[in-house]
């Protein structure tokens, strides 16, 4: 009987440990989820702007950011938090490159199959201003960013990526090379050319 009681005690103890283990792992999962949400909140606006500038298409930009978020959460949620920024940007840039390739293939098909390719309307032209700002205020606020955005959009994708990651995200050459999946030397070249082109497009006094 004593042996039986001893066994039942150990079963109870085992069950308690098990429950505690489950609650610990549940708490860890919850903490991780909160950390992921904080991280995604902190990068989502910038990620969207990067994708918008790369694609010039708001819907495509949202799709790219969503894909990047899904992939990060699905594959790399278990990684250390300080590894998330470079991983996220690597995924994001990879998705942008995929979009670029798909778009290039689509354009080629159009030029093969159609002798009179339709001129695509810029989707940003038809988007209404939700905030209801007056044209004058909007013009004042956006003149400078519009010029920058147009200059960035005119850059080859590689130069654009190098500039956005180095200048805006503050990545060093090594981190940028990882995100762009290319050599560090290439990053330096693309970045240098990007600065040169932007300076030529925006003019010497744009920043003054």
């Amino acid at each position: 009987m004593a042996a039986l009681l001893g066994k039942s005690d150990s079963f109870i103890a085992l069950g308690y440990d098990n429950l505690q283990g489950h609650s610990d792992s549940g708490r860890k999962a919850l903490d991780r989820n909160h950390a992921l949400e904080r991280f995604l909140s902190s990068v989502e606006k910038r990620a969207l702007r990067i994708a918008q500038i790369a694609t010039s298409n708001s819907d495509d930009a949202f799709d790219i950011v969503q894909d990047a978020m899904f992939k990060l959460v699905e594959k790399y949620a278990g990684k250390n938090e300080n590894e998330w920024p470079p991983l996220f940007h690597r995924i994001l840039q990879s998705r942008i490159r995929d979009w670029y390739r798909r778009n290039t293939v689509r354009n080629r098909f159009r030029s093969w199959l159609s002798s009179d390719p339709a001129v695509e309307e810029d989707p940003f032209q038809s988007v209404a201003d939700e905030a209801g700002r007056s044209p004058e205020i909007e013009l004042q606020n956006s003149r400078s960013i519009d010029a920058l955005e147009q200059a960035l959009q005119s850059l080859p994708l590689r130069q654009q990526q190098a500039f956005m990651l180095r200048a805006w995200e503050g990545f060093d050459v090594k981190e940028t090379a990882k995100a762009m999946a290319c050599a560090e030397g290439s990053v330096k070249t693309h970045y240098s050319r990007a600065i040169h082109s932007l300076r030529a497009t925006l003019g010497e006094h744009w920043h003054e």
Partner: protein, 124 residues
């Protein structure tokens, strides 16, 4: 590196230029409208929910390389020979590595869709 050192012979202040670019981009994020922020919020929550539901499909991993190789062989054998000259649509030479990269073959899966899209657009 000081600001002065960054100035080149034509007095172009690279640091000031970069600072202005950063500020403009930051402000463009601050000016995002409610609809955009709401959409971002939705996709973030969708991603987090997706993470809770779907465990990694580890058992399929060993077949990934094989599938990629098969698709590559198919694409090269079907599309490479006798390909007509492709008109240049303004693609920069610098982005050639992106177009020729074998990193992802996702786009080839959509070739039929683009053909269908083109046929539909031309018939309208």
């Amino acid at each position: 590196m000081s600001k002065q050192m960054k100035k080149d012979s034509t007095n172009f202040d690279e640091q000031a230029f970069l600072e202005k670019a950063r500020n403009e981009l930051d402000q463009s994020c601050e000016r995002m409208d409610g609809q955009t922020l709401s959409r971002l919020n939705s996709i973030r929550h969708a991603a987090l929910e997706h993470g809770k539901k779907s465990p990694a499909k580890v058992f399929l991993a060993p077949f990934g390389g094989l599938v990629t190789a098969c698709v590559l062989v198919f694409v090269v054998s079907v599309f490479y020979p006798g390909q007509p000259d492709i008109p240049d649509n303004g693609t920069a030479i610098e982005d050639l590595d992106i177009l020729t990269s074998a990193e992802s073959l996702e786009l080839f899966e959509n070739l039929e869709f683009y053909q269908w899209l083109e046929e539909n657009e031309s018939s309208v």
